[in-house]
Amino acid sequence: MAATHETVEQVRALAEQKYKYGFTTDIDAETAPKGLNEDIIRFISAKKEEPEWLLQWRLRAFEAWKTMQEPHWPKLDYGPIDYQDAYYYAAPKLKNKPKSLDEVDPELLRTYEKLGIPLKEQAILAGVEGTEGQAPAIAVDAVFDSVSVATTYKAKLEEMGIIFCAISEAVHKCPELVQKYLGSVVPYTDNFFATLNSAAFTDGSFVYIPKGVRCPMELSTYFRINQANTGQFERTLIIADEGSYVSYLEGCTAPQRDENQLHAAVVELVALDNATIKYSTVQNWYPGDANGVGGIYNFVTKRGACRGVNSKISWTQVETGSAITWKYPSCILQGDNSVGEFYSVAITNNRQQADTGTKMIHIGKNTRSTIVSKGISAGRAQQTYRGLVKILPRAEGARNHTQCDSLLIGDQCGAHTVPYIESRNRSARVEHEATTAKISEDQLFYCRQRGLSEEDAVSLIVNGFCKEVLKELPMEFAVEAQKLVGISLEGSVG
């Protein structure tokens, strides 16, 4: 089909597609020497003035990591990673620890401004279609390389008993909560990357929502890798106590660099009785250029435990960045009647590779899970959906529905679907559907007959394809995500 051919050509022409977050910030950084060993771990731990138990925990993880092998099962093709050739600690040099936002280095504030992240405590005027008046405020924790540089709205949230701060701060502020829950969902021996993170994590966000509290604003962490040759190993821990609710947003970008950078994060969520956590990610790490040079290697372990009855954890992700993505946000449905959800749009273009999906482990009775995955491959990208639905014998009445659709644009890319479905309870009902297709000729012609250009038609159809997922995002994020869908496929969808 000539039209598709053109589209493919345009994707190619857009090879040097502008990644608008590719700038670097010129700021003095303090880095630990390259490589990872016990000394570096002690150094990181000391920098954070951590208690002994945490240092010991890190060291145990490091011991375990040395015996582990990088997983080879993902459908990803990349050269060997030299884990000793990266910096494990980089922090912007701060003369004194800033006590308020006013004391934060203006260069850093400018960086976040440039990224469109509000680090000011004020209502932001909506540039948002369809919303009227002011958009709700968002509390932001900004993580720059290895440290959290600012957290907004802390005081306001504290009035309600909500703790939202850097995890390094939480270790001092509420050590009992951190000690109780850290590693309780993703143990330090979990997998190669999570174990590496457990040994070397530098910062990340911590959230605690007390009993019965509905968090009044979206909480958000914004991750930025700035320093060259630096790995980012952040650790996020969110605990929603009984009957509470929180919606959490995560965004990420990195400068455009020719070498690959490693990002191995761990996110742990704990939802107790009747609690709900909604976790949304727009992942826009630098994807590398058209020839696959540079870009972030993103190896992330995200897992939520629905510990309590009627608890709910919902993951929504829009993945457009990274050279390599390895990521399976999962739900362990322990509490009876608990609910897990996974909504994902993953777009890979040029030479990007993504192996992503979810795991839903049904343990409790009447647990329910929904998986909606929409994958779009263009250019020479390879994308795999990998998912596990596991129904354990006690999960009486469990339900799962999985819908997994792939859209291919051009004939050089690949889309793969690898679901694992394991059921050991007869009253459970598990349904999995997957389709792979391209944009149909009929649809394109219909749109063009109504006057749309081919590019607009493709864009319209792709956004329609993703809609089930995009509608799950909070409004502030949805607009960003929709734009991102456009930018990521620019040339192929206009």
């Binding site: 598709t4 099962w73 014998p393 889309a415 679907t417 059921s423 007869r426 459970a428 997957a434």
Partner: protein
């Protein structure tokens, strides 16, 4: 810490007894004069020694453990035992009193006394491999080992290392066989000795020919048997080959089979496997659609109970444009049985306009039954239509209630619903006598189930 992206190997220690058997059998195998056959066997042994017995650490065997094999000391089948085994009744899909072309194998060895090739058109070859290695040496030598990949599949390698006998069928160009060909495989542990054997099947359908092949796998039981089948099926341009199999061995049998088919331009390959036997079974079907417009239907039904383990693994490889594939599997799993379904569809670059569809639906009939499904799509072409579906669950309560409210007793109602559930797969068989015979076997299984503990 550079990483090595290697797959874990199998259990090479567990391979030891089989390697010893290979070395002992070596002198007795037919066709030793043919260099190609000698090479095949030598390479097969080498690969098997290197690959070892598959383990659950390997992705392809994630859900099926061959550990139970290790607990049995299998002896290689002997020609004398095969010849001496008494067979009462041979299974058939034909109406009573009718006969037709048929080969009977006991422990993988042809029993000419029970076989018949009467009425086959001129040019059709239907015989045992041991015989064909001398009577059709060139024909067989050229084709053996071309499709079944011993490099990747350890049990194919093991089969190849000792290939000796099994069915050979050649249908020449344009020949249409109206009468189905029946292949009967009897697994018999002579004198109560655990027995292992490795039958090798070769089917060659030349361009524009057509044939229907029905395999029956049975065994009287008494002691464990381990049948390790490998089949190679060539379907030439415009040919149609319908390949059906029913496996009803006793529940102390191990049954592993690997069928590799290549389907040429505009040709059609049908495969249907009905499984209700064996303690542990694995049916692997690999079909390569290697010509424009080739099609295949690979379907089946599995009915397992007790401690049975039944694994169905399929690979449909769309290598050329305009191919169509359709898979429909249905399973009923009772008591403590476990079923595994792994189905993969690959669409190679350039295989545009591929239309691939796959469905696996499993019914769990007890609280301890288990189903593990892994339907996979691997797609490298953009102008394709591919889908798969998998479901697991129990019978529809509402339907059951509806039937009971009309006066049908509970167990009978369940039986009816299970039968109609299975029919969706069995109806995929276009050959009426085969379809009816398979449906009758499924009905028999259901009746036995109802008549049992419940």
């Amino acid at each position: 810490m550079a990483t090595t992206h290697s797959t874990p190997t199998g259990d090479t220690a567990a391979a030891r007894p089989y390697l010893d058997q290979i070395d002992r059998l070596k002198g007795e195998l037919p066709g030793a004069a043919l260099s190609r056959v000698r090479e095949l066997r030598r390479d097969g042994r080498e690969r098997f020694a290197a690959l070892g017995v598959p383990t659950v650490r390997q992705e392809a065997w994630k859900y099926t453990s061959l550990r139970p094999l290790e607990k049995v000391a299998f002896e290689p089948a002997t020609a004398a035992a095969a010849a001496g085994t008494h067979i009462d009744v041979l299974p058939t899909v034909r109406p009573a009193g009718q006969t037709g072309p048929r080969l009977v194998f006991v422990n993988g060895r042809l029993r000419a006394d029970l076989s018949s090739t009467d009425g086959l058109p001129d040019g059709v070859v239907l015989t045992g491999l041991a015989d064909a290695l001398s009577s059709h040496a060139d024909f067989v030598g050229e084709r053996l080992g071309r499709l079944a990949n011993a490099d990747e599949h350890p049990l194919v390698a093991l089969n190849t290392a000792v290939l000796a006998d099994g069915p050979v069928l050649h249908i020449p160009r344009g020949v249409v066989l109206d009468d189905p060909i029946e292949l009967v495989f009897v697994s018999a542990a002579a004198d109560g000795r655990a027995t292992v054997f490795h039958p090798r099947t070769l089917i060659v359908a030349d361009p524009l020919s057509k044939a229907v092949v029905i395999e029956h796998h049975v065994g009287p039981g008494g002691a464990p048997t381990f049948a390790n089948h490998t089949a190679e099926v060539f379907v030439g341009e415009g040919a149609t080959l319908r390949h059906y199999k029913v496996q009803r061995e006793q529940t102390d049998a191990f049954h592993v089979s690997h069928a590799a088919a290549t389907v040429c331009r505009d040709a059609c390959y049908d495969n249907f496997i009905l499984t209700s036997g064996a303690r542990l079974s694995r049916n692997e079907v690999h079909a390569v659609l290697d010509g424009t417009g080739a099609s295949c239907h690979v379907s089946g039904a599995y009915l397992v109970t007790g401690e049975q383990h039944c694994d169905t693994t399929t690979l449909i490889d769309h290598a050329r444009p305009y191919g169509t594939s359709r898979e429909v599997y249905k399973g009923a799993i009772d008591e403590r049985a476990r079923a595994v379904f792994q189905g993969k569809i690959i669409v190679r670059p350039g295989a545009q306009k591929t239309d691939g569809h796959q469905l696996n639906r499993a019914l769990l009939l007890s609280d301890t039954a288990e189903i593990d499904s892994k339907p996979e799509l691997e797609i490298y072409a953009d102008d394709v239509k591919c889908s798969h579906g998998a479901t697991a669950g129990e019978l529809d309560d509402e339907a059951l209630f509806y039937l009971r409210s009309r006066g049908i007793p509970k167990e009978e109602a369940r039986g009816l619903l299970i039968a109609s559930f299975l029919a969706e797969a069995i109806d995929e068989i276009p050959e009426e006598p085969v379809r009816d015979a398979f449906a009758a076997i499924a009905t028999g299984w259901l009746a036995a189930r109802r008549g049992g503990a419940r």
